[in-house]
Amino acid sequence: MLRVCLRGVKASARKDCGRLRVIHLQQSRGYASGGSSSGASRVVFTGLLTVSGGIGGTVLYANWDPKFRAAVEKNVPYSDWLLGLALGPAPRDSGLPVRKRMESIQPPSMMEKQKKTSKVKSGKETAEPPAPESSQAAPSPSMQGKMMESIQPPSMMEKQKKTSKVKSGKETAEPPAPESSQAAPSPSMQEASAEATQIISAISEVQSVPAPCDSQAKGYHDVSFCPAAVSASLEDSLASTAQATLQAIGAQEAALQAITLHTDKLKEAMEAEAPSEEKSTQWKDLEAALADRTTSMSDAKAALLKANEALDALKGVIDSSKGLKVPAARPLVLAAEENLHRMMVDLDKVVSKVQSAESEAKIVAQYSELVREAKQQFQREVSSLTPEIQANWKGLAGKLSTDDLNALIAHAHRRIDQLNRELAEQRVREKVHIQAALEQQKLEDQRSLENAVSSALQHVKEEARLEQERKLAELREVIEAEMRTQLRRQAAAHTDHVRDVLKVQEQELRAEAEQVLSSKMLEQETRYRQLSQEQLDNFTLDMNAAYARLKGVEEAIDSHVEAEAAARKAHQLWLSVEALNYALKTAGAESPSMPLEDAAEAVRASCTDNDFASALASALPEESLKRGVYSEASLRARFNALRSLARRVALIDESHNTLYQYFLSYLQAALLFEKQQEAPPTQLRSEDLDPFKLLSYASYCLEHGDLELAAKLVNQLRGEARRVVEDWLTEARLTLETRQAASLLAAYANAAGLGSTQVP
């Protein structure tokens, strides 16, 4: 609201300022005279003033209201810098500012609280005067009840306020109570110690609930977010409270004891008829006991105050921790509350005991007072009658004289009469007295009843509330456990369901996947087959091509091989022919060559497929094969020998073959001389057929290496000469044949070899 107003004001101020400025500028522009400058300056000055005022106001308000400051910082850029400059950094948590913040954050609740506190304060003030004790007693428990109920909203400030409230309440509740309650000397240290152990165990219970937490800060925010801090605070306050309570209880017990002691002593002192010294010691003891009692009472009171303070602090802490709504701390809070309640109960009990004891002591004191008065009066009377007799009349029976006795008896009679008269008077007035006393008693009883009732009610309420909370906590736990089981069951059902669904899904997906897989596989297979087929085709093509090439190559190679084979054959043939020639050459001077069989065989072997060569090879004469042929030289040499023989038998022929003819031919041979060698003519005439001429021709031919011609010429010989040279002629013919065949073969081999050479 304030902010909005301020913003509106600022905005309007700005707008106005702007408008104003515009107007003024316009005006200044309009009035372009001396007044314009002053007007403009005035306008400027006012504008500046407004702006600075706005900013200053904003800063001040931000200083006072941090929320406003936060809002301004958020909405207006660079304002945080400005505000930081002006005011310092934004305030964080601390004790008092927290309170302020609390106040600022929850203004409505604060207003309420303030109203409540004012009400209570007023109630307190009205209850202060002791006269309307009932009304005081009423608002105090009601106040207390309110305070109990108003535990929910968390606030340290509230706690402080409450502390003061409760303190004052307790103070006011204390004094009227003991006046009307009866004495009840009861307490024992064992009870107190039992309560103390209870509290300590409760504290230890609370302390044994650890919750790890890092933060150690006692601030509001930190406490709110950490159950361990809560528990720690609870424990601390519980401990302090318990201590204080224990102290109070102890003090109260002590006071109680002192009171009872004093009362007993008083009673004793009243009733006992001891000798004077003992009596004086008794009275001294009594005085000491009284002093004790007073001191212990004061101590007890102080301790009680402290305990109440501590209890209130604990209550505040509990309230704050409850208000944080940290679920983990709830049992702690519950336990702390129970402890608090118990402590309060114990404290109240003890206090009531003390009060009763006090009342009793009062009664006893009154009684003792009365008795003392009576005694004193009697004593005075006795002493007035018999001044020389001592105060203690009980033990003086033997020492009194008869006069004294008579006086005493008379006095006693007189006293009895007086008392009878008083008694009668009393009897008469007894009803009235009794009524008055009853009234008083009633009032007192009522008061004490009310007190007791209120305290009991309080306690019961507290107990009921605690019980409720406990039950609530239990129920919550139970419900949570049940919920957890249900959830678990649900989760189990869910998991089962999910499992089933997953199974179904799995199957579906599997089927799908398998289908997809199979289709893909099929596709892949077809593709693969296609590819492989393609590959195969390609391969086949390649193979065919390669095969064709190979074939071509093979053919080429074959042809080459054939050519080579032919060449080899030719070579072989040539070689064999060479061998043949060599074999032919092996003819010695007089011996024929080696048998040409092997060579001819070789030749024949090397030309199996060649008809020509084989024909030639088979054309070799048998004799040459078996026996070999003579060389030309040997033939030549033989011919020379034969020539003479042929000359000697030149005349012998078929018809002339007597011995006489032999003689004559010898004679002719001896007497006829022809040329040793004569070149044969190209054509033979008849006269050349003379043996001697033929022989010379043949010899010439032989000398010139023409065996053939020689053989031809020799072939012309007739008669015995022919018979004589027949061998030589066959030999020559053989040689010639062989040589011819060999030369033919060689020529053929050469030709074949030449033919087999490849054209590059």
């Binding site: 034969l642 011995l659 040279v725």
Partner: protein, 84 residues
């Protein structure tokens, strides 16, 4: 052939000599036995031997030229049949 010729001559001469000597011998024997030691059987025998030898020798030298023929009767009737 020449060797044959030589051999022939060797044989011939050897044969002749033998025959001659044999003839002589026989002649001597005959002469001694029957012809009262006349010389004519010896010369006869030697001549005989020589002649035999000579004839053998000649026959030996002639042997290649000797023709051994036989007589074959030819009937004329068949000839006339052949003319048809």
């Amino acid at each position: 052939m020449a060797a044959e010729y030589g051999r022939k001559w060797d044989r011939c001469l050897a044969d002749t000599a033998v025959k001659t000597v044999t003839g002589i011998g026989v002649g001597i024997v005959f002469s001694v036995l029957f012809f009262k030691r006349r010389t004519w059987p010896v010369s006869f025998g030697s001549g005989l031997g020589l002649g035999m030898g000579y004839s053998n020798c000649q026959h030996d030298f002639r042997s290649p030229y000797l023709i051994h023929g036989g007589m074959v009767k030819v009937s004329t009737t068949w000839k006339t049949c052949n003319f048809f």
